[in-house]
Amino acid sequence: MSWIDIGAIEDIPLRGARKIKTALGCVAIFRTGEQEIFAASNLCPHKGGPLSEGIIHDQSVTCPLHNWVFDLNTGQAQGEDGSISTFPVEIRDDRIWLDSTELAKRSAA
């Protein structure tokens, strides 16, 4: 495992998201609660909508282009045949840490 500090929790607005650039494409970091965070692929499997621009509700995000709704726990799209990759992410002392080995492995897969 190789955990990387990618920023402070307050850099993401509550119920908002930011993307991070990786060699294997953009990953979206979602802040669903004061101290609740998820990481998943930024790319909507439907037509490539940027998920970090979607509306975040409960532990889900709605794609801004055509309203597919993804569960951030599993990455599964609600009622659609599609899913996004999710990645291990943690909050330690108000900083966001992402596991980059997982990222490399799964994005490549």
Partner: protein, 810 residues
């Protein structure tokens, strides 16, 4: 041997205690009863009917001389007790000492007198005992003016009694509404109306500064130096426990004489009962708890075990024709829910306050028949979950299987108002249904009921069901989304009526089934909150679609478009140069003239947005809101400036309109057109609002469409002046903001409420027009600003949070 029991004060509490004692243990005590008043026990709370003339003193006496004689109570009436010596165990009366084994202090309360100059003048009376009542009665015989200071229970009973006896009465009350300790504002308002209708003048938020007069009271001077002439001044601002004897005797006294649950003071042989006591931090001002105390005290003296507990009390006002009831705790609070029923035509208001599935408070005005039933539910802490739907209709709608909201609607009287907007009563609607109106649309057409704000739709549908029975099929209300069961209209109404001012309040109070809504309901709720509470609630970007959060239109490839405002379609070389420079600097692939008379820069990268905006800002270009549910464009033609047919300055008016309206959030987008003559080159007649200038003024029409639907505008009204045209436009936009369902374009909303309803408010009712304009301006004091300028300060948020390109590739 009999113990010597001395009682100080022959009031309602001690009267009840003595009764218990002599009835259950006639031989235990030798009782001596002191009373400062020259008489024994009478029903003090019935002094008001004596004052008003409905009863005589003889009717309210509870214990007459024969009773005291028969029970061996030694009476010393008209004699003040001036001291207690707990060491020697004697009471000192004006006419001599009296030793005791046990002592009861039952001195009640003394009226509070506000310390203003002139309070001691003759003609200033308090309201506590028969002497006060008689003094008022004889003052009223001379007629004239009375001022009652204090709009609580006592003050209002005094005021009503004096008015009944022919005096001209003014009530001066410090607070915002009458009886504020027992009533909420709605009930206080109804009470005020009833009292005013019997000729009593009510002055709220009025503070008494002095009582003035030469040798006797002649007037009351208010803060602000207004003078109210007065032949009689009644001071009824409150009471204070009468504790002086106890304090002097060295007993423990806080606000009242402190007692334990056995009514025992800090001296084990001295007891206290009634309004003079303080128990567990509570003071008492109504008889119900005092009767409980009296019973406990009697049992304690007889050596039996009992303990006093504080219970909720209920209040009624003894003014004939003012039917009010209040019980329990009805203050707003977290976790509390209200059920409110209003029947404006009958002056009925009922409000129940519920917490944790239990009734904790009730306020009622106009119809208090069910008051005691509600009071019992409060006292028993009954779970009301089962009967919640019908609770407010009272006990006759409860009970087993018959509990049904329909029977409640069926029970409403024919003149119960159903549609508040149009003043339509139940009878009118039922007649229409019986006359053939078989669905909501037909009822609306026939009666106008529910054709306006639509909040009574549910009631009208229930009436259809009650009247038509199985012939009527209830349409399922369309909830906003699966997060809740309420319609847009219900949510809007409840946000206003329950004063919900945050998303959390909406979720909690309206029973959202999700944690924080979804992409369908949250933008709607965000809009409703900011439209209704512009100062208290601030727009939440995270509850907006990406375009409105980013202040740019997202494209299918994830880039954005940038459309700066060109006020009324007018631009200049500096602006055009800045746009050209920006297009080059940020590699904008497409520059297009839009259908809205301005220029669109399409294909800008998200990261570049704050920078291109900053560049455009430098020459004064601001956001065109081409992405928002808000003001888009005001399309104009050249008008009088250049056109040989132009009648008015259409370009100038368009610019003015765009400058007042820009930045405002609306239920859907709003587009305007202003044409200089009926040739209509600005295509004004297919906009949300279109203005056609003519020689005599401005023709204003609304509710056009040229998108998915095509519809010509309908005439709203004609304005003589440019200012009136602007006023009508603002008022229309604000009415739309306050009432429309989120994502209804103006034409859809007008089709629902009817153009007549809109005209009645925007055109005909000048007060309402002024209110709408004022409300719009209040909101614009916050939202009339350039979001681009604000966003450029937060440019970092537009960049990726981190760049892991190197690390992840390892």
């Amino acid at each position: 041997m009999k113990q010597k029991l001395v009682v100080i004060g022959a009031g309602m509490a001690s009267g009840r205690a003595i009764e218990h004692l002599v009835e259950t243990a006639p031989d235990a005590f030798e009782i001596t009863l002191f009373n400062a008043e020259k008489r024994g026990n009478y029903n003090r709370i019935m002094l008001s009917p004596v004052l008003s003339g409905e009863k005589a003193y003889a009717d309210i006496v509870t214990h007459d001389e024969g009773w005291y004689a028969a029970h061996g109570v030694h009476c010393r009436f008209g004699e003040h007790v001036v001291g207690i010596d707990p060491e020697m165990k004697v009471v000192v009366g004006e006419n001599g000492h009296m030793p005791y084994d046990k002592l009861i202090i039952a001195t009640g309360s003394a009226p509070f007198i506000i310390p203003v100059p002139g309070r001691d003048l003759p003609g200033v009376i308090t309201y506590r005992d028969l002497d006060d009542t008689n003094a008022m009665i004889s003052a009223a015989e001379k007629g004239g003016k009375a001022v009652v200071v204090g709009g609580g229970l006592l003050g209002l009973e005094a005021a009503a009694g004096l008015a009944e006896r022919g005096m001209e009465v003014t009530v001066v009350h410090l607070m915002g509404h009458l009886m504020e300790r027992q009533l909420d504002e709605a009930a206080g308002y109804l009470l005020r109306g009833d009292l005013e209708s019997r000729g009593i003048t009510i002055r709220t938020q009025a503070s008494t500064k002095a009582i003035v007069g030469d040798g006797r009271a002649e007037a009351v001077l208010l803060e602000g130096d207004e003078t109210l002439p007065a032949d009689l001044v009644v001071m009824a601002v409150g009471i204070r426990p009468e504790t002086r004897l106890a304090t002097d005797a060295g007993l423990e006294v806080a606000r009242g004489i402190e007692v334990n649950a056995q009514m025992q003071t800090s001296d084990p042989d001295i007891f206290a009962v009634g309004e003079c006591v303080e128990f567990d931090g509570n003071l008492f001002g109504l008889v119900a708890p005092l009767y409980d105390q009296a019973k406990v005290l009697a049992r304690t003296l007889m050596g039996e075990e009992d303990a006093f507990v504080v219970k909720d009390t209920a209040t009624k006002l003894k003014v004939t024709g003012c039917d009010l009831f209040s019980a329990g705790d009805f203050a707003d609070g977290e976790g509390r829910e209200d059920i409110v029923l209003r029947d404006p035509s009958r002056g009925i208001y009922k409000r129940l306050v519920i917490q944790d599935d239990r009734l904790i408070g009730a306020v009622m005005y106009g119809d208090t028949a069910d008051g005691n039933w509600f009071f019992q539910l409060i006292k028993d802490g009954t779970e009301i979950e089962e009967m919640r739907e019908t609770l407010i209709f009272g006990p006759s709608f409860q009970g087993g299987d018959t509990a049904d909201p329909l029977s409640a609607v069926a029970a409403l009287s024919r003149d119960a108002e159903i549609c508040g907007c149009n003043g339509i009563c139940k009878g009118t609607i039922v007649d229409a249904i019986e006359g053939g109106a078989s669905d909501l649309g037909m009822v609306r057409a026939a009666t106008k009921a529910s054709a306006s704000c639509g909040t009574c739709t549910g009631l009208v549908e229930q009436l259809l069901q009650v009247t038509l029975g199985d012939d009527f099929e209830m349409p399922a209300a369309q909830p906003i989304c699966t997060c809740c069961d309420l319609t847009h209209e219900d949510v809007r109404r409840l946000i206003k009526s329950k004063e919900l001012k945050s998303q959390d309040a909406v979720w909690q109070e309206l029973g959202w089934k999700t944690r924080n809504g979804c992409h369908v309901c949250r933008p709607a709720v965000n809009f409703y909150l900011l439209a209704d509470w512009p100062l208290e609630y601030r727009d939440d970007p995270q509850s907006r679609f990406v375009n409105e959060r980013k202040h740019a239109n997202i494209q299918k490839d994830g880039t954005f478009s940038v459309v700066p405002r060109m006020w009324g379609g007018i631009t200049n070389p500096t602006e055009l140069r800045a746009i050209a420079d920006a297009a080059e600097k940020y590699d904008v692939p497409t520059v297009k003239v839009t259908g809205g008379q301005r220029i669109d820069l399409l294909g800008v990268k998200g990261e570049d947005l704050p920078f291109i905006w900053a560049d455009l800002n430098k020459v004064g270009l601001v956001s065109g809101h081409a992405y928002s549910k808000g003001l888009r464009t005001v399309k104009t033609c050249v008008g009088t400036d250049h056109c040989r047919f132009g009648t008015q300055d259409s370009t100038g008016l368009g610019i003015k309109l765009e400058q007042v309206l820009w930045g405002s959030w609306t239920p859907h987008k709003v587009k305007l057109g202003v044409s200089g003559c009926p040739r209509n080159c600005a295509e004004a007649t297919c906009k949300d609002i279109g203005i056609i200038c003519v020689d005599s003024g401005y023709q204003i029409s609304v509710a056009g469409a040229a998108g998915m639907d095509l519809k010509e505008t309908e005439a709203l009204g004609v304005a003589d002046t440019e200012q009136e045209a602007i006023d009508l436009t603002i008022a229309f936009v604000q009415l739309y903001r306050e009432n429309a369902k989120y994502l209804d374009r103006a034409y859809k909303w007008v089709a629902k409420v009817g153009l007549d309803w809109v005209k009645a408010r925007v055109v005909n009712d000048l007060d309402e027009r002024a209110r709408l304009i004022e409300a719009f301006e209040l909101s614009q004091s916050i939202y009339r600003r350039d979001p681009w300028a604000d966003q450029t300060k937060a440019a970092a948020a537009f960049q990726p949070l981190a760049d892991l390109t190197l690390e992840a590739a390892e």
